[in-house]
Symmetry: C2
Subunit: 557 residues, 2 copies
């Protein structure tokens, strides 16, 4: 059965009942969106401050490969399994982006028997959060061009506007556009471009904001561009945009409740890119979940070098979160890919390649334990073609590393297939929870922070940048030196070369560009070409998506 | 008190309770969106087919002026008043567009004590319908450019693509753009443009579709452009876009229930432009309301020459609706404006100007009775500065025309202020309901239909067009000759000159361009420049919109 067929066969319970039954949340604190989605009211969220926090478990992965790893399914499977073994657990996931749904990647509501439902709603508009983010972003863009057209009293340099427009669609034709064509009535001609909504700084802001006040302040301090001197920033608050932007986000800031196939609560909220943004769900959702459950399982984007690093150095630092353990997802197939096997040969047993590919896992395990100071469990996301010999080798190697590796079969079996994983993980967080450290201190210079990430986490031998980039960082040190770094590099490798599989070492990380995300409160350091607007493939997934006369959707995956 | 202050003081009742209490709709047939908005499930809507229809009352207006007329407030006030005098009435309104909220015009949820609530939600994202329409539209646009980039097997002529992109924002810089810049990886460079979401053909389609099947068929037959011969159309279904577009609209097609300040049910659903589209709420909403209530009060955009004409000749014809009466909204101020008074002098009594301006009202009354064959009641939307002499003159003149004119004070007094209007209107529809006729027969040629509208309704002496336009219409006659005409002209005058107030006659209507809206099922005839993407003013309303730490919104109007 396809994911959507499994999802449509689920017996969902009314979310208002489920929230009361599972988490003790009275229905008056919920805004329903249909019968199976709801938003938690902010008053209630804010009222939870004094309750003790549950344990936070991060699910991350080895460096991604085309073979697929399964962070979301593992997060859902582990959450369901924890509930099965009698623990009160909630999952915190990211919201899917519409663009990839119509492109290659498909949706992001888990898969197999480890899914969140209603799958169609979650993958399509959900509760409208991304639409609200897109409109808030584009309102600011419209106000910028209108300001210039109306006489430009702020002296915005039209050549130095860095605030692009966004759309929640894979639309490569919009990457670079020229706007304001058609004569004086349409304003001034200038170059512009579109990003996908998940790449918007408004998304990062919504995910990091602690409350409405913080949200509005962050929106107000967005730097939209500069004056002609190239140095004097223009803020969104200079355009009086932040009040209306925050008003547009009044519901988007409220965490969304849904359920898994096994009727456990998942909070799905926010979904920033994991390259030019920090790639985790909202601080509001995570903090709320920690008040409502004893165990909170959450995920971070891409591999641990990007997702876990940013989760810890950006999100946990800003929000004061203390994760207790990290689950590192790996598959035999992906490890073989890291060991040099081609995608089409991954279903063949290959112990030599597996052993070679283990270098990637080993580096991630090392980073998690040594640099982040957290206990680590390897979750082997089981695939049908995995052989006993491969699994045995993988477990033996993990044992040599002193890390527990558990085979998890949640994709095929639901929570039941991840019960051992749940026992191992809960055993660790109950008995030897970690105390995480940061990869870099707040007081290092911006350049030193970049160096720390590249050398410690990526294993780089050198970090380089053009003098222009270095002087820009130096210029920012006074005012923004306390900001963490948000590294934008390929997720496919520890290095900046997506083809360097395994655990490359001694490589050079070249920082091509740096950007100030002043509303989000971090500096984006870009190593390599970052795609912030995907394209559609030759046969887009959209061609297969359909709805019948009774409203049943097919072809969504 | 401002509109938003009045709205925020309202005592709203839970919409699920209200729908049951007022209309007998069981909560199982509703999808809640928060506690005060809900969508009617399609299964339920479809199950109502056998119930008898209530009476349909159209609220329209004299030709709009900057003085304001008040169609939405009158629709709400009349609906509340009908309920007050013991009639079971539901209002059918259009959804507001976000763009104008941040620009000059503000929201569209009524005003004073004749409002629908929750006002902030209705004016901002509401239930996400417009976002869904925007994404469905932009998905098709992305598929078009992707198709060309991937080799263009359909041979779409990039110079002849008529499917633009949309955004729900007043953003003049996007009216004309160049896309696909930046090299081969970003596709082919071509000219494009953005319309505001309400101008999308997807909006018109959603508003005219009778069910999901019809929706999908209409989406599939959208003409996105032509092959190099300039004649062979490319349809959305050729790009396999319609299934995914319909899936994106699965919730948008469901009518939205909210309440008035007086806790009566209003259905707010759809909101197409009244110039290049037909300017009324959805067929689904109107038909559902007719099954649920004895009286349905609905509105159509702009003045009766555009709104009422399209309501009758497009919407009622396609959907088989039979309105029983028309309420024509007029204000003393607007009539004085039509009589030549400047905006700043409208608060001064001026009987001569009022009498002169009455020509506009007289023409609309004449059209409604003679050309549409419907009984008409004039609703004088009362303003504080109206003098007794002015009101008396207006009523006397209406009496001479044989039309009842009732002073309505719903803006200041709510439904109570429109009780007399409610008694007069219900008396007419109960005792002498109209049987409407069309302005033109379906079998006329497309050009003859345009002539019929221009000469009968606009009072034109001549209708002209370039040979190119006429030959285009002639070429369409075979396949699309049965389509109605959707006239796009200025709303400010019966003529195509916005400055020709009153009731111009003998003027020439020049058709500049014609467009095939094959999904909507009409031919757009454009007389004059039509703005399908508004701009923001020097001080946009957005600058005053704010939200406080507790989530209370201010500055929205």
């Amino acid at each position: 059965m396809s994911d959507i067929e499994i999802a449509q066969k689920a017996t969902m319970l009314p979310i208002m009942d489920l929230a009361e039954q599972k988490l003790g949340v009275d229905r008056q604190h919920l805004d329903p969106y249909g019968h199976y989605k709801a938003k938690l009211c902010l008053d209630y969220v804010n009222s939870l401050g004094d309750k003790p926090d549950g344990k936070l478990i991060l699910v991350t992965a080895i460096s991604p490969t085309p073979a697929g790893e399964g962070k979301t399914t593992t997060t859902v499977g582990l959450g369901d399994a924890l509930n099965r073994i009698g623990k009160k657990a909630v999952m915190c996931l990211r919201e899917p982006s519409l663009g990839p749904c119509f492109g290659v990647k498909g949706g992001a509501a888990g898969g197999g028997y480890a899914q969140v439902v209603p799958m169609e709603d979650i993958n399509l508009h959900f509760t409208g959060d991304f639409h609200a983010i897109g409109v808030a972003h584009n309102l600011l863009a419209a106000l910028i061009d209108n300001h210039i057209t109306q006489g430009n009293p702020l002296h915005i340099d039209p050549r130095r506007i860095q605030w692009k427009r966004v759309v929640d669609m894979n639309d490569r034709a919009l990457r670079k556009v020229v706007i304001g064509m058609g004569g004086p009535g349409n304003g001034y001609v200038r170059e512009d471009g579109y990003d996908i909504v998940v790449a918007s700084e408004v998304m990062a802001i919504l995910c990091l904001a602690t409350d409405l006040k913080d949200l509005k302040e962050r929106l107000g301090r967005i730097v939209i561009g500069y004056k002609a001197d190239g140095k004097t920033p223009i803020y969104a608050r200079d355009l009086k945009a932040h009040g209306a932007m925050a008003a547009l986000l009044k519901d988007a800031i409220k965490p969304n409740l849904v359920q898994t196939l096994e009727n456990n609560i998942a909070i799905i909220h926010g979904g920033p890119f994991a390259n030019i943004a920090h790639g985790c769900n909202t601080v509001t959702a995570t903090k709320t979940a920690l008040k409502l459950a004893d165990y909170v399982v959450t995920e971070a984007g891409f591999g641990a070098d990007l997702g876990a690093e940013k989760f810890l150095d950006i999100k946990c630092r800003m929000a004061g979160l203390n994760p207790a353990a990290v689950v590192l997802v790996a598959t035999v197939r992906a490890l073989k890919f890291h060991g040099g096997v081609k995608k089409e040969d991954l279903n063949q047993e290959n112990l030599a390649a597996l052993e070679q590919g283990l270098a990637n896992l080993e580096r991630h395990v090392h980073n998690i334990r040594e640099h982040y100071g957290l206990p680590c469990v390897v979750s082997i996301n089981h695939f049908t073609f995995d052989t006993d010999a491969e699994i045995a080798l993988l477990q033996k190697k993990c044992q040599e590393l002193g890390v527990q590796a558990v085979v998890a079969k949640h994709w095929a079996q639901g929570g039941q297939g991840a019960e051992e994983l749940a026992r191992v993980v809960s055993g660790i967080v109950d008995n030897q929870p970690g105390k995480h450290s940061f990869v870099y201190g707040e007081d290092l210079s911006l350049w030193q922070k970049i160096e720390a990430i590249a050398t410690k986490i990526y294993g780089a031998g050198a970090v380089t940048a053009d003098p222009k980039v270095k002087s820009q960082l130096a210029a920012w040190n006074d005012e923004y030196g306390h900001y963490p770094i948000c590294m934008a590099k390929t997720q496919m490798s520890f290095s900046t070369d997506p083809n360097a599989k395994g655990a490359p070492t001694g490589h050079t990380v070249h920082i091509r560009e740096v950007r100030l995300a002043n509303g989000a409160g971090f500096i984006v350091a870009i190593a390599g070409d970052m795609m912030t607007m995907p394209g559609l493939p030759k046969v887009p997934a959209a061609e297969h998506i359909d709805i019948d006369d009774n409203g049943r959707i097919t072809g969504l995956f």
